[in-house]
Structures are given as structure tokens and as C-alpha cells.
Symmetry: C2
Subunit: 215 residues, 2 copies
Amino acid sequence: MPQSNAIPKATVFRLCLYLRELTELSDKDIKTVSSSKVAGKLGLTDAQVRKDLAYFGQFGYPGVGYHVDELIDELKRILGTNHMWDVVLIGCGNLGTALAAYKGFDRQGFHIVGAFDASADRVGQKIGELTVQSMDELAKTVSRTGSRIAVICVPGESAQTVVDQAAAAGIRGILNFAATAITAPPGVVQNSVDLAIRLEQLSFQLTKTKQPAKR
Amino acid sequence: MPQSNAIPKATVFRLCLYLRELTELSDKDIKTVSSSKVAGKLGLTDAQVRKDLAYFGQFGYPGVGYHVDELIDELKRILGTNHMWDVVLIGCGNLGTALAAYKGFDRQGFHIVGAFDASADRVGQKIGELTVQSMDELAKTVSRTGSRIAVICVPGESAQTVVDQAAAAGIRGILNFAATAITAPPGVVQNSVDLAIRLEQLSFQLTKTKQPAKR
């Protein structure tokens, strides 16, 4: 497999989209699919689909296309979601509580094994099957469960402190929901979720449909 | 301006990223920037930045690059965020409550003017400055405020019903946080937010850093 930094981020993002499409096909018991079929549903070209997959090997069969379940397995192996990841959640306000209940995480291979909050008021509260723990217990839980990923949904002003605590506890990947930029320590990768970006894309679509050219 | 369907979705997404980079530069009082500087911070090529912008016109100056504040204005005009959008929020559980407080929306030009829930228990509750309204009042509020965008964070099983109600009330753009696929009625555009995708990208990065090739 090529080195991570040789693969464009956009390719990795599209692999996730392909995986969703294929899972939907598999749920409908569809066995094979062409690159143009996958591409069409996502508004891409079939050349793009083939190019993205070609980074990782040769998966199609001439005259057949892709075997759906086989390609699902390959994509999960590539994305590292062929096993469950144990994840800790830091910050148990409304967003953290919502994320703890979000069914999409488990479905894609991410299981929340611990929930943490700096506020004494929240420690001990139940969120689904989890009990909110104090930040003092983070390192012990990370070590016990072998968690490598933290989902962080604390207020912006606490985000960097929490990132540093998580890294010191052994976390190696951070998903940041705080609406502020963070710096991941060396050896730690991070992704930030910007909830407004999809609204901006929507705004673009709505603005364009107001143009006379479209009518 | 070209028709909306001629612009790749990935370009629109990158315009949002450029806008964030430029806003950060403007906050630091930086007046001009090159395409390669913008590209470098986002892990793109400068050719990509120039190509994306070229769909909409000629914005750079030879030997100077882009005027930061001028390009911010142009990007906002292109994205339709040069004015505030009034937005209604439907579904006031943990996620809806978190989104109502999310500072990133206002900052990018989206102002939540109404919050709605189907549950009688929630109607009348305060979320920040908003009071949760009954779904019966949706059409009236949409009409009074001229809102065209709805952010939907209801349970998956209610999502399609709510989408249809919103469309009937005059909503033309839907941001769907429900972890389920919805079908937007004709004349309505929709984007779904998949909170797990960023975790999968993180998983990919962590999986790759375990490969010996990387060391």
C-alpha cells in the first residue's frame, strides 16, 4: 500500500462515499456494480472512481465490474474500519450527548467506550450506557481500553488543553467538534468538523437556482 | 456566472475552505496572498486553487496574488453568504440544542430564527434566545421570516415526514443531520451531514501510520 501522504485527502473522502454506496447496494442484495454506476450516484466520472481505487490495487473484473461485497471488504481494510475502533468522548454537553447516541458511529466501526467531562456537575451522569467520568480518569481508561481516537466536543476555549491532555493519555487521533482551530502534538493526527460548511454549500446551490440562467 | 450544475461539488467545497483561510489571514491583517500560499495550507496544488476560482472570473493580480479582503467578498458573493440567511431548526433534542448554540453558523452567515419540535414536552422550552415552537407554527414562521433553509435534526424515522412538511411550508434548502437518507421534493435541494465520515478519514490516517513503509 502506498504511503499515506501520497494519497490525496479528497481520494480518502471519496473512498468513504464509495463504501456507503456499496453498503447500500449490498443491503439490497446487489452482487456486482460498474464504476460508472457508482460514479453516477455520486455525481463523479467513472474515470475518477477507477483512479481513486487504482492507488490501492486492481479491484474490478473486465465485463463484470466490481464484486460489491469484495470491494466493501477492501475499502474497509484500506480505511482501517475492518475492525472496531474504541473511541473516547470528551465533553458531555448537548453535542457530546448527541454524539454518544449517534447511531452512525457504531455502524461505521467506531464504538464509544468512555465519556469524560471537566465539570463536576456532569461526572457520574448517565449518557445511554456510559457514565460520565472525570478527566482525571482519562489516562487510565485510554490505557485499559487501548483507545486511540478521541472525539472532542468541549467549548472552544478549552479545546487545546483537552487535546494536549488526550495526547498525553495516549490518544493518537482527534476528531475536533469545537468551533476553533487546534494544534495536534507531534505523532497525533486531527480532523476538525466544521458544521457550517454544508450550509455554505447549500447556500451556493440556492443562490445559483435564483439565477435566471438556470430557468 | 456559470450554471450551478456546471460547477463540481468539490470546487464548491474548496471555495468554503479558501474562504476560511482568507478570513484567518484578514483577521491577522494580511493584505495579499498567493495561490500557492493558500494551496499549501490546504494540501492542494496552486493550479487547483486557480482552476477553482477561474470558474467564476479572474481574481488575481500578476506579481501580487490575491487581495485578501477583495477575494473574501467575491467568495461570499459566489457562495451566497454575503447576506445573512434566516434558518429554521427542526428537532430540538440534544443535537438540535447543540446546533442552536453553535457559534460557527452565525459566523458564516446563518442565523437561526425559529426552533421547532413535534414533541409537546419540548414546545415552549427555551434554547438560548429561542422558544421551541410546535410544528403547526412552522409554515407561519417560514412565511413571516422568509426563511428558505431548514436544519433538520430529528430521529431518522421522522426525517422524511419533516422534510415534506418543511418543503410544503416554503423551505427550499435542507441540511439533514438525521442518520438516514431523505428524498427532497422537486425544487428543494438537500445536503446530508454524515458525522462518521471524518472518523473514517482519521482511521485511514492512523492505519497508514502503522504501516512499516511510513517509518
